[in-house]
């Protein structure tokens, strides 16, 4: 499995990928996960490559080979579309966060409708999940990542208990309940 996660610094991409990678390990698989910290986290574009299977060599996913791309933001979804395999799934939050050069009026923004159209033109299998909005109705925008995790779990073959167990393992005790609720809500957003 090649799963690429992308978003904007501060959206919780790294915790999302920590949970999935740990889950694959607990399931007894070989796992590699690659991301870059530091300068990239100051509101920049953030990606995490997660791969699991019998034996994994490269920590990086090759262009055109991702089975699933999980995008926390629309512009970032389009930025990494070329990583998706022909039969792969894109799960994306249609939320848009303007990059600073756009906010400052230095660069033209591309309209959301145009970005969505590019996704439809290029892909057969894509799924919009309003994870940020859902997290906000739950009273905590920060659980966008676990709402997304719930949605993605519909495409993976791990049992629900494994998700709960891993969330408990990696999330601070006081936030476990909110994250499990968000995970379930995310599952509800995607029909089986």
């Amino acid at each position: 499995m090649n799963l690429l996660v992308c978003g904007v610094g501060g959206q919780g991409v790294l915790l999302f990928s920590d949970i999935l990678a740990q889950l694959a390990l607990t399931a007894g698989l070989d796992v590699k996960k690659s991301e870059v910290h530091g300068m990239a986290q100051r509101g920049g574009s953030v990606t995490s490559h997660i791969r699991w299977g019998e034996k994994i060599h490269s920590p990086l996913i090759e262009e055109g080979t991702a089975d699933i791309i999980v995008a926390f933001e629309l512009l970032e979804a389009v930025r990494y579309l070329h990583f998706l395999a022909p039969a792969g799934w894109l799960i994306y939050d249609p939320l848009t966060i303007a990059p600073l050069p756009v906010q400052l009026g230095l660069v033209e923004q591309i309209a959301s409708e145009e970005l969505e159209k590019r996704i439809q033109n290029r892909l057969k299998k894509s799924l919009a999940v309003r994870a940020f909005d859902t997290a906000r109705t739950l009273g905590n925008p920060r659980v966008q990542n676990t709402v997304m995790l719930g949605a993605v779990s519909r495409l993976l073959e791990f049992p629900d208990d494994l998700y709960y167990q891993t969330i408990k393992q990696l999330v601070k005790p006081q936030f476990v309940e909110a994250n499990i609720l968000a995970f379930r809500r995310g599952q509800e957003l995607v029909s089986k």
Binding site: G9, E62, L75, E76, R79, L84, P101, Q103, V107
Partner: protein, 572 residues
């Protein structure tokens, strides 16, 4: 055996702990920072943030000579700072094993260059180990301690960003018992007076010859026979990419890239039809293969800059790659200073002034970008002050622009103090601005000599920057709050006119670690004239929609800087 998913950095920490390491010192630097952060969570190992990498390595040499297994950790450019003791350490040797970790940054994800530190092995005559995943990172550091003690030599363990920040599965073992500390004076070994140093250099060559025999036999270097049509020599993460691209080829995987196992390479080369070296950035292995007179493909086709990827290797070797192209017209999303970041106020105050500004290494290097365009240089740690000094001496009275240096607090402690002393001693008209956000921001908020806390969480003396600068001989030391923009600008203007060395301490805690200063601000759209002057602050919480300023309430921390700069009073 318990298995865990560890990053390369975490695996190095685990390996050092399992090897019985008792002393570890580092200066934070991406991608190496997490090694000491992780090691500090283990029992029975002293860990510290040293003031800089030179200090860290010298202290680790001391601990090694006191008989304990020691570790010094730094990013690639940090080893330049520590290069002086590195070469002496090779002559002196060790008592307790001494391992130096360098984390190189091919692709420059968070660095000013992508130098290849494998070459330090060649120059200092010390062994260099390059792990290819987290399991090897852990295993190799344990091997490094054994080699260090067996051959009386410091060992360089070289990671790259892709190894340091990738996680893979690691088997966990127990900590080894090691000998208790034990210091003995060894005059001829540790006092590098020329007479003794000449002996030590000859002796280093002997140690090196024994290592040369070792590298031919060690399981750190291994041949994986496959199809003899193509034989690939590689190290580090390049091995993983190459295995993926050529599942059937024969491999010579080097874990110990220096001393170079020439015999093993010859033996491998004889039995394959075509020989290739796949490595990142510089042709370190390839040069040594070519020195054996072998015909090899390497940097004649592979890129000499940036990271490799499986797709790059595929393309170079004529394999098919994905036809899907990236969308090229998308707006970039570069990193930016955070909403309410105190550096925003400082850089705003520096706008539209007739100045030349030396910049330094930290979050504030981003002040070089629009809308601030606030720095002329980013060279290396501490170079803001010394650059401005050189400019001042060269231009003298020929150029009316004032010379300014902007340097962070942690960077000032690291290597700004000597530059400031030089400004005072040689009298240049440099205004040094210390952007003091009370932490090491860029690398994720590590403590430093000004914070009053150590890596191991102990309270300690907090160095007072103002007193320190006065002790350096600066008489004009002024403290400002960068949230008060007019006051900051007026202070800087006043100092520009006094024509002598001065220091401004622009002090305000990093917005990510301090309490929110207030409720989110709002724009009164009735009053806003749409003049866009607030956008010159460069705050990510400020945007512009339908010809009016807009504050993104989820991002705004209520610092109030935009309130001060709005000419219409439209922000409340």
């Amino acid at each position: 055996m318990n298995r865990a998913l560890l990053t390369g950095d975490e695996a190095v920490a685990r390996g050092a702990w399992e090897a019985g390491c008792r002393f570890a010192a580092a200066y934070p630097g991406t991608p190496s920072t997490e090694i000491l952060e992780s090691l500090a969570t283990y029992p029975d190992v002293y860990c510290e943030w040293s003031v800089n990498e030179k200090v860290a390595l010298e202290a680790a040499i001391g601990a090694s000579l006191a008989g304990v297994r020691s570790l010094a950790v730094m990013k690639h450019v940090g080893l330049n700072v520590a290069a002086d003791p590195l070469f002496s350490a090779a002559y002196i040797g060790v008592r307790g094993g001494l391992v130096i970790v360098t984390a190189d940054d091919p692709g420059m994800h968070s660095s000013q260059n992508e130098q290849d530190n494998r070459f330090y092995g060649l120059m200092a005559k010390i062994p260099v180990l390059c792990p290819a995943d987290s399991q090897e990172a852990k295993d190799f550091i344990k091997s490094a301690y054994i080699i260090s003690e067996q051959f009386d030599i410091p060992v360089l363990l070289r990671l790259t960003t892709r190894i340091a920040h990738s996680a893979s599965v690691v088997g966990l073992e127990d900590r080894a018992e090691t000998a208790p500390p034990n210091y003995e004076k060894q005059l001829q070994k540790t006092v590098l007076l020329p007479a003794f140093a000449r002996l030590r250099h000859r002796e280093l060559i002997l140690r090196f010859d024994r290592l040369q025999a070792f590298t031919e036999k060690t399981p750190l270097n291994r041949i994986e026979w496959g199809n003899p049509e193509l034989g690939i020599i590689c190290d580090g993460v390049a091995y993983q990419y190459a295995r993926e691209v050529f599942p059937d080829a024969s491999f010579l995987k080097l874990g110990m890239v220096y001393p170079f196992p020439a015999g093993l390479v010859r033996q491998f080369a004889e039995r394959v039809r075509r020989l290739a070296v796949i490595e990142e950035v510089d042709p370190f292995i390839e040069l040594q293969v070519r020195a054996l007179g072998l015909t090899v493909t390497g940097k004649d086709t592979l890129p000499r800059t940036g990271e490799l990827t499986p797709a790059i290797i595929r393309a170079v070797f004529g394999q098919q790659i994905s036809e899907h192209k990236a969308e090229i017209d998308l707006p970039n999303r570069p990193p930016a200073l955070c909403p309410g970041c105190p550096h925003l106020g400082l850089f705003y105050a520096l706008q539209r002034q007739n100045i030349i500004i030396g910049g330094d290494i930290g979050c504030y290097t981003l002040g070089a970008l629009p809308p601030h365009n606030g720095l002329d240089t980013c060279i290396d740690m501490g170079a803001s002050i010394t650059f401005a000094h050189g400019v001042d001496k060269a231009l003298a009275n020929q150029d009316p622009r004032s010379r300014i240096a902007v340097i962070g607090d942690s960077t000032f402690f690291h290597s700004g103090i000597t530059g400031l002393l030089n400004v005072v001693y040689n009298q240049s008209n440099v205004i040094t601005i210390i952007a003091d956000n009370r932490t090491t921001g860029m690398t994720g908020h590590q403590d430093h000599p000004g914070t009053g806390r150590t890596l191991m969480g102990k309270e300690t003396v907090a160095i007072d920057l103002e007193q320190l600068c006065r002790a350096c001989g600066i008489t004009e030391v002024v403290r400002v709050d960068p949230y008060l923009i007019k006051e900051t600008r007026n202070t800087i203007r006043r100092l520009l006119n006094i024509k002598k060395p001065a220091v401004v301490i622009s002090q305000r805690s990093c917005a990510l670690i301090s309490a929110r200063p207030g409720a989110p601000k709002k724009v009164d759209a009735e009053i806003c004239s749409g003049c866009r002057s607030c956008l010159a602050l460069g705050c990510p919480a400020l945007s512009f929609e339908q010809e009016k300023a807009l504050i993104i309430s989820t991002a705004c921390i209520g610092c109030g800087m935009c309130v001060e700069i709005c000419p219409k009073g439209a922000i409340l």
